[in-house]
């Protein structure tokens, strides 16, 4: 009982550790649980054009902030002959290009590749309380219009969030009344509208700021940033679409800049212009996660299989599948009760099948083993010592394999050439054991055990070649701990095997007749 308790504690520890690591990798490091999980990686290119006047040039350009919900895979800055530096400022990162003298048209590029992280980060908590907004200065006419509008909106709303939305909707309404017309003027620019909203909110004593961002759409060129309004409500900043009044960050939207600092400053140049182009690429999430975490040097990754050379990684891909095969063998033998010749021979056959593909592998296996059995039965008449005989069988197996390869090549059957993937020693042992079994227990037992081995091997093969399982075993080697725990539990199973329900089924019938 003590031993049992200890075992179960061990099992629980292993399970917990294994599953915990898997969850950590999934939720924190961003490894997807399915192989086909894909992510869009956006490449955004910002192009800054201006005409230099022959004076010293300084170009200062706002860069998107790095937030936890967006992962930057690459950032590049290019512009010929310019000195470059990245400056952090209170309002966000800025890129600065500079040159002693320049004249004529100039171009600077900034390219960013990024994707959105899976885990949703809670909406941004304001780091500190924003200052009380300064009351904007309106002339008397505008002030009256603003107050009237605000009053009208305030009456319709229960809280600040609704008030902001209501305000935006009213300003954008198709049938503007006098006040709105007065405030918006004719053909107001987006920037003006943003500023107006911020000002109106300031009148209400609500802090708001401008947010510029980029809608991410594939294959777009000459895009510009869209304006949003971010309002401080209840300890956090809420993003509002300034045309529709919708809250929250839209899908595929990259926040580029917060606050009213300028997007682009050019000193010593004129006609400055900025345009964005966007391209979407689809990448496997797993590759992105590996790359991202390797570059971040997450401890778990630093000591993982990913840190090995690719060649070793590929070897491990196969090795990590073996525990799955072992689990299948344990289940087949302990729960189903299938007899196999040799405990783990089925796994080795399954490994060979992986290389040869299923059908051709089975045909080759049966061909080699049956031919081998024929020759082995002749060898047994030659009165050989055991070691010599098994060595002879090995050589015979190699000859058969060579024969199959050459003949199939002549006939143009390429699949049969994969015969070499079967381990010769395993084949020889199989032949030897089968032939002894045949002599002593008859062909029936050979069929039972051979069939059992092959069936187990095929089932193990099907599991080991399943893409999802292959993916999981390689990317979550922690699964081995779970597997180990399962096998430990199965090792405690003392119930009947499925085959025993058949083996003892006659008892039941006799039991019934007896009771009558």
């Amino acid at each position: 009982m003590n031993a049992k308790l200890r075992l179960y504690i061990l099992v629980i520890l292993l399970m917990g550790l294994g599953i915990g690591l898997i969850l950590y990798k999934h939720y924190v490091l961003g490894f997807p649980l399915l192989p086909d999980h894909k992510k869009s990686v956006w490449t955004v290119e910002a192009k800054v054009d201006f005409t230099a006047r022959g004076d010293p040039v300084i170009v200062s350009f706002a860069l998107p902030p790095q937030t936890p919900d967006i992962i930057f895979t690459q950032e590049e800055f290019a512009s010929p002959d310019y000195g470059f530096s990245e400056l952090p400022s209170t309002a966000g990162r800025r890129a600065q290009w500079s040159k002693r003298t320049a004249s004529g048209p100039q171009t600077a590029y900034y390219r960013l590749s990024m994707y959105e992280a899976d885990h949703n980060v809670a909406s941004q908590q304001a780091s500190d309380l924003p200052p009380e907004p300064e009351k904007p200065e309106f002339d008397e006419l505008h002030k009256t219009a603003a107050t009237t509008l605000l009053e009208q909106v305030r009456n319709k709303s229960a809280n600040t969030e609704i008030l902001v939305r209501e305000l935006i909707v009213t300003l954008n309404s198709n049938t503007p009344n006098q006040n709105q017309n007065l405030l918006l003027k004719e053909q107001a620019t987006e920037d003006y509208k943003t500023q107006l909203i911020i000002d109106l909110l300031a009148l209400e004593g609500i802090s708001a700021r401008i947010v510029r961002g980029l809608y991410l759409q594939n294959n777009r060129r000459r895009q510009s940033l869209s304006n949003f309004v971010e309002v401080y409500i209840g300890n956090e900043w809420l993003l509002f679409n300034q045309t529709t009044g919708k809250t929250g960050k839209p899908k595929n939207f990259l926040v580029w800049q917060r606050g009213d600092e300028s997007l682009l400053d050019v000193v010593g140049g004129k006609d400055s212009q900025i345009s964005f182009s966007i391209i979407k690429n689809v990448h496997s999430t797993r590759n992105l996660a590996v790359k991202d975490n390797l570059s971040k040097q997450a401890t778990l990754m630093d000591f993982s299989i990913y840190s090995l050379p690719i060649e070793q990684q590929n070897a491990f891909k196969v090795i990590l599948l073996l525990p799955i095969g072992a689990l299948i063998v344990v289940i087949m033998r302990l729960l189903i009760g299938i007899r196999t010749s040799g405990t783990f021979m089925p796994i080795l056959i399954a490994l060979a099948l992986i290389q040869t593909t299923l059908i051709s592998g089975i045909i080759i296996f049966l061909l080699v083993v049956s031919t081998g059995l024929l020759i082995r039965s002749y060898l047994s008449r030659l009165n050989l010592l055991f070691v010599a005989r098994i060595s002879a069988v090995i050589i015979v197996v190699i000859i058969i394999m060579a024969g199959i390869s050459i003949v199939s090549n002549k006939f143009g059957i390429d699949q049969a050439m994969t015969v070499t993937f079967f381990p010769m020693i395993i084949l020889s042992w199989t032949i030897e054991r089968m032939s002894v079994l045949w002599e002593e227990d008859g062909p029936r037992e050979v069929l039972i055990q051979g069939g059992g081995s092959l069936l187990t091997a095929i089932i193990a093969y099907l599991f080991m070649t399943n893409r999802t399982i292959e993916y999981l075993t390689f990317n979550f080697p922690e699964l081995m701990l779970v597997n180990l725990a399962l096998i430990l539990v199965l090792g405690q199973y003392t119930g009947y095997r499925l085959s025993e329900l058949y083996r003892f089924h006659s008892l039941e019938r006799r039991n019934v007749t007896h009771q009558r």
Partner: protein, 332 residues
């Protein structure tokens, strides 16, 4: 129905392979004792020391280069059995019932062998063909057991043997294994021998099965089993029970034979006895195991234990409550 339910089997007290391996073998049979029974030569010497009757050892062949002396070893004996010391499940056993001056050897089936055939067989055994794990083996040459007349009508081309399961020294279940034409003269159930469940109390036949199906008479001799009673039953039980002291194995299968001249003797012990005995007896081992497991200490002598077994495990002695149908292993 080809399958029965696990619940029914459990209610009958049938022990499955997993439970046997886990609850009986690994619990009661310490690993280091296995060689005592896996090597028949060791078992034989041990039995002789303990005063237990075994077939006479006529000679052994241990090395390949001694195989050429085989002719001389075999010369004085008209009948003999050649078997590997570490073989299992009756593998590699060669029975010769007579030979002539031209060195022709005859199997019970009448098949003729040359000396060279026997030499090959012996050399195969030595190189480990039949031993567990293919280790080099020793060849034992034993005297042939003479068929007791009581079995004359129940056997075909071979000697029937009696398998008794001894648990902590108590014989708990027994079965007679009869050779048939289908089993090629071997007493192996899965090769087609008939298994006859034997009443521990009296030594009389209970049920008989071949290939898992009930049979009422021997398939070759057509003799019905109903009047079969094994003679020297007490002596057989005593011998089996004494194997516990001899080997220290808590769960073992003793294979015994009745020799016409020498009476009951042990031919082989098994540390991993199979479970077909439950089918032949139409009874599960679990209740009997549970009863013996409930003892704080076991009776000191084989005689006392046999007496207990005969009263408690005899058919019709319904001393077992259904509560006791589970073994200790399944309680914890």
């Amino acid at each position: 129905m080809l399958l029965t339910s696990a619940k029914k089997l459990r209610s009958m007290g049938i022990i499955g392979m997993n439970q046997r391996n886990f609850g009986l073998i690994s619990r009661y049979n310490p690993r280091h004792l296995y060689p005592l029974v896996d090597d028949k030569l060791k078992t034989k010497l041990l039995a002789q020391k303990a005063g237990i009757t075994v077939p006479t050892l006529l000679g052994t062949v241990e090395f390949q280069h001694d195989v050429k002396l085989l002719g001389e070893i075999l010369q004085p004996h008209e009948q003999f059995v050649i078997k590997p010391a570490k073989g299992s499940g009756g593998k590699g056993i060669l029975v010769i019932v007579k030979h002539d001056e031209h060195r022709h050897y005859f199997k019970p089936s009448g098949e003729t062998l040359q000396l060279v055939d026997i030499k090959r067989h012996v050399s195969n055994i030595i190189s480990g063909l039949h031993s567990l794990g293919g280790k080099t083996d020793t060849v034992m040459i034993e005297s042939l057991i003479q068929l007791d007349p009581v079995f004359a009508d129940y056997s075909y081309e071979g000697i029937p043997d009696i398998r008794i399961i001894v648990f902590r020294g108590y014989p708990i279940m027994a079965m007679l294994r009869l050779t048939t034409h289908a089993s090629d003269g071997k007493a192996n159930l899965h090769q087609g021998a008939v298994g006859v469940g034997i009443d521990i109390g009296t030594g009389s036949a209970l049920h008989a099965v071949q290939f898992g199906k009930t049979v009422l008479h021997h398939p070759d001799t057509q003799k019905t089993f109903s009047e079969l009673v094994i003679p020297h039953w007490d002596k057989l039980l005593q011998l089996a029970a004494a194997c516990y002291e001899m080997t220290g194995l808590g769960y073992l299968g003793a294979d015994l034979v009745l020799d016409r001249d020498k009476g009951p003797m042990i031919i082989e012990l098994n540390a991993r006895p199979g479970l077909s005995i439950q089918v032949a007896n139409f009874a599960g081992l679990a209740p009997r195991v549970a009863l013996v497991e409930s003892f704080e200490s076991i009776d000191a002598t084989p005689g006392q234990r046999v007496l207990f077994s005969k009263t408690h495990f005899a058919t019709g002695s319904n001393t077992l409550s259904p509560r006791q149908e589970r073994t200790r292993e399944s309680d914890d």
